[in-house]
Symmetry: C2
Subunit: 685 residues, 2 copies
């Protein structure tokens, strides 16, 4: 039996699958591993799964081929090629981190080969195989080649040294506690979870690097980070750190952090040398500079490129990377100023620097131009930047999407973002193709997800929010995968193969984002949240603030005109989007209030007015949330009691809070206009 842990292992849980024992036993009786001890760890993953879930105890052979029997053959391609000529053709099929799982005949025996060019590839191959076994897949004649489409598949933790997590909704940090770095059994299990979904980089600390966190790049912390890195490296994951751009001042005693000042560059070079001494597998830096009160090169009249390239140079000889966030805007805006448009800021800041960043610098861009609202247009920097490495930043943690109290599966939204065609080089210039390197000749691209993980028993607060983490991994490996397929796989891995469970949870997940959108701020409105914590409705909470997120509703209209006649944001897009968005008649209605200022009595394509549509969507949204809850109740008895109750409890709260959203927003619109609901439903006065 596998040990009982004080937390569940999500899709990696060793459930009892002895029903498949007979199906698989002939394949796995013998396992041959080529190479030294370096593959011990992936081998152990396979062995543990076979033992604990399938009750199969394979015989292990190291560097010894077994004759006259079926066996599994695990080894890096360079080893496999030595003993099995045909495998030379695998060379072309694989990229650096891809793997092959293939069952072939060798000397009359059936051999299941798991191979890859790199260690990472082997690890991914093993986890992939485990997934297939867990789902009872037929592997008699398996023949799989799988390569990750994106080079960087990263998680960003907004964890603070004191153990708190900015925008964290699943307990405390699994990395930090009371200004110390935590390393325990859970550390390794987290590495296993991430590795199993193909993640190859983790930024462990918050992008807002405050006082104590500045010291993470000093020896007092680096030793422990080195230990942490060893654990993660064993699963193919590099550790990155968020840094404070003014570190040369805070830590180095310099009076400047000017990236063009030689002393600063020298200081960083020495600092990087020191980091790699402690953390040989170090991935690099994530930098939030000149953004929301974090220091940056602008303080010295330098550009983001100046700042990033200086750091890049320090990291270059180690193969390290600088990931530089494009989330830069004026966060001290005056609401009275109607010329400034926060939506335009990232493009305005970074487009002029396109081509000026070094090769080991990557610009990390939030999916939309604002900040992870339930719906935004895709950031025009995608397609706008043609000569710059890019990482798409997504928020797995549900800051604006219900904070893991509401069920809000994000895969559907992410998929739409990835599939968005920027038309940068004509049709087909989809975001995902840019990230793959198929549109511009740039390969150091990827996806970063802000983690939704904490030390809660289920890692993610809401048990079903595990699906968001899993999906992030799946899409960053293969953005072309059908989202329904990802959802189904996650359900099967997590809850087993019960048809009804698969059907109902699929429904719940796939309809949840739309429902959340409807009962909160649909049609691209966004932002009507309580300031600060961002949970729950507050229609004018941000209306007069410094943050540049206004809807400027008055007695007759709502929304900001971002067309060419307004702030001109639409001009940041390529044609035909530029024209489509610019025209209120052609603008997709789901983004109508993002791009246009719209009178309440404006008629949408349905023939209904804006205000009636808003009422309708809010009533519908609650009904859909209730439907989602009903689907879960149908599963009583089919799901482990504890999980069933935990999720039901959150769904109950979700319904209550969805109604609050509905009523607040409807009342807000009603109080503005005095226009009643055509259908006479309850709108509070």
């Amino acid at each position: 039996m596998a040990e009982v842990k004080p937390y569940n292992m999500c899709w990696l849980e060793y459930t009892d699958l002895s029903k498949y024992k007979n199906k698989y036993i002939k394949v796995f009786e013998n396992v041959v591993v080529l190479g030294g001890n370096e593959l011990n760890l992936p081998l152990k993953e396979l062995k543990n799964f076979l033992t604990f879930s399938l009750n199969i105890k394979p015989k292990i052979f190291k560097n010894t081929l077994v004759k006259g029997r079926n066996y599994v053959l695990i080894g890096r391609l360079i080893e496999i090629k030595k003993i099995f000529k045909e495998s030379e053709r695998f060379e072309k099929l694989l990229n650096d981190e891809g793997f092959i799982i293939k069952r072939i005949d060798i000397d009359g025996n059936k051999v299941l080969i798991i191979t890859a060019k790199s260690y990472n590839g082997i690890v991914y191959g093993i986890f992939n195989l485990i997934e297939r076994l867990k789902r009872g897949e037929d592997i008699e004649n398996i023949d799989i080649v799988s390569n990750p489409s994106l080079r960087f598949r990263m998680l960003n933790h907004w964890d603070n040294l004191d153990g708190s997590i900015e925008r964290g909704y699943a307990g405390k940090s699994i990395f930090f506690r009371e200004n110390k770095i935590l390393i325990n059994e859970r550390t390794k299990d987290y590495a296993r979870l991430l590795s199993s979904i193909g993640v190859n980089g983790v930024v462990i600390n918050n992008v807002n690097v405050k006082k104590k966190e500045v010291e993470l790049i000093t020896p007092s912390y680096l030793k422990k980070i080195g230990e942490l890195s060893k654990i993660f490296s064993a699963y193919g994951i590099k550790i990155y750190l968020s840094i404070n751009f003014a570190s040369p001042i805070y830590l180095g005693g310099l009076n400047t952090a000017d990236p063009l000042d030689k002393r600063v560059a020298v200081w960083w070079k020495a600092k990087v040398d020191e980091i790699y001494e402690y953390v040989p597998d170090f991935g690099g830096f994530l930098v939030k500079a000149d953004s929301e009160f974090n220091p940056g090169p602008h303080m010295y009249g330098r550009t983001h490129a100046d700042g990033a390239n200086m750091l890049g140079e320090a990291l270059e000889s180690y193969g390290g990377f600088v990931i530089w966030r494009a989330f830069v805007y004026n966060c001290l805006q005056d609401w009275r100023d109607t010329n400034t448009d926060r939506a335009k800021a990232a493009y305005e800041n970074f487009k002029p620097l396109d081509g000026k960043f070094s090769e080991n610098v990557i610009v990390q861009i939030k999916y939309g131009p604002m900040d992870f609202q339930v719906r935004e247009p895709v950031n025009p920097l995608f397609g706008g930047l043609e000569h710059t490495n890019q990482i798409l930043e997504l928020q797995i943690t549900q800051e604006y999407t219900g904070q893991q109290i509401h069920l809000c599966y994000l895969g559907t939204l992410w998929k739409e973002v990835l599939d968005f065609d920027t038309y940068a080089k004509g049709e087909g210039s989809k975001v995902k193709e840019i990230l793959k390197g198929n549109v511009f000749d740039l390969k150091n691209n990827g996806m970063a997800g802000v983690s939704n993980v904490g030390d809660d028993i289920n890692w993610t607060g809401h048990d079903l929010a595990q699906a968001n983490l899993y999906t992030f991994g799946a899409l960053s490996w293969n953005p072309d995968e059908r989202i329904e397929e990802v959802v189904k796989r996650w359900i099967e891995l997590t809850f087993g193969d019960n048809e009804k469970v698969i059907k109902n949870i699929s429904y719940m997940l796939l309809s949840s984002h739309k429902a959340y959108e409807k009962y909160t701020t649909p049609l691209g409105l966004g932002w009507m949240v309580n300031p600060g914590h961002h949970y729950g409705p507050n229609p004018e909470g941000y209306e007069y603030s410094k943050w540049g997120t206004y809807h400027r509703a008055n007695y007759e209209a709502i929304g900001v005109d971002r067309s060419s006649r307004g702030t001109g944001y639409t001009l940041q897009y390529h044609s035909p989007w530029r024209e489509i968005y610019d025209n209120i008649e052609t603008c997709p209605e789901e983004l109508l209030l993002f791009f246009h200022r719209v009178p309440y009595n404006y008629k949408l394509k349905s023939g209904k007015t804006l205000i009636q549509t808003y009422y309708d969507l809010h009533f519908e949204g609650v009904e859909e949330a209730e439907e989602i809850r009903k689907k879960w109740i149908e599963l009583k008895g089919e799901i482990e009691d504890k999980i069933y109750e935990r999720v039901l409890n959150r769904l109950d709260i979700q319904i209550e809070h969805a109604k609050e959203w509905r009523d607040v927003i409807n009342t807000y619109f009603f109080r503005r206009t005095g226009i009643p609901d055509e259908k006479g439903r309850k709108i509070y006065p």
Copy 2:
């Protein structure tokens, strides 16, 4: 020379007053003190002042009358009577804490007597004399009898053990730091400041008693609190503690805090015994129970009286008091519920308990029914409670009144509150008369002010906010004093006798509350602040929250109908207020939007519509703030540079933020209605 302190001593600063030396020297050459060493401390206060400010070094005689010379005679009345027959008639003139300062002839010599029944009285007399000397008052024939009108003159500190202060705007706590109690030179100086304005009680910790603070009544803290109490007792001030009603559970290991459970009462009795062992001068408990998530007797189906009386019994034999806050309301209100009215809560909770509280229990009532808004009607519990000891709670700290960034002198508001006639027993039943014990036969009344003090160099953040602290003391000693007189005295003590300084600062202080009211939320509206920190405008920040503070503005009207036709709040008042407030035509306009829901086009007495009045007031408010700033600028050169700059800096920010208030509120009303300003001034769209 007096030592130079790292903070200023406000109105007690030893300024150079040697210009008065000749005037006073003949009075103060000899000082006779009667009694043992117990008067050493007030004597030293006098001596230090004479030495450091007047350069007079008196000869001190202890229990020895000097013959043939003028002298000062300090002693408790019981001592004075022994040697000076005539003083027997003083007996009737003095209450427990009052004092007499009188210059008389004894055997042909002029003797300045300072006497009182109690030690406190002597201390107050000395400080009062110092004030007079500092202002250069003629004391040749001084003849003063002064008694405090109110028995309890308290400061409440909302200080937390970690050194933070809830609603504190003047630095960190002077009582706590990093979970320890601070005792240093400043502790004593704070006691001196409070004593000099007649304060006789200080609650040192926040009414919200959270985890660590619960332990303040355990020996690990009580020893230090004993030391603190000694320092304060020497200045006539008792230390009180805020307690958590569930302490028997947290500290006593009981499974209940039910006030009618014998084990609970026994636990509290033993706890009180323990406290007095460490702190023999202990004043008693301040309790926030069943309020904003603090535990209380309601948890056990008991009343506030049950809870308070149980504690009262434990304290009784020591002469300790229970101060029980009336700030109880439903803080989980649903905005959709229009029947519940937070304004009614205190009365509804406490009126039925009138007469049920023990003699050593005092109910502490915020001045208004909501929460320290810039203007509220006077809490109807004043006049409502006829058989209950009462403390009027005021906020010296400027939570809703500009947080010591804005100049907002509160004495004018407090004076209006004290002068409010409740008509409880017909005309003349003013709040101040109730507190004095002249309306109902209850003497254990008083005033409590939430402190505005922290460890800033000037104690109060804004230098001119010292005036609020000073005024609180002055009014709690004598609520009949003219506010202009208090202001003038404070200015003279703080800035000297420069006519222009007195004139300009008087103007600034006396006009500041009105100006603040105008540019924020006049006509009794209130609450349009940012949630949480309560600084700056946010017209709908609280509109859909749980806190019960709604204005329910729509396209045609704003405000809550609290008349007999609405929530019925007006019915909590005695006639004629009940009728006056109930009628929109007779309701004082400064409270119009508190009591009534008013259409924007409603015509006020001026003939102007509500909306035009709102616009006008906001433009006026900023103009008045600018005028206030101008008055300060006129004082350049007349005020110590550092103070001048500090205050100017805050006035600059005030103007900027006043404009923000003006523009946000005007825009909010404009967006609601589309009605432009009649005078065509700038209102942002």
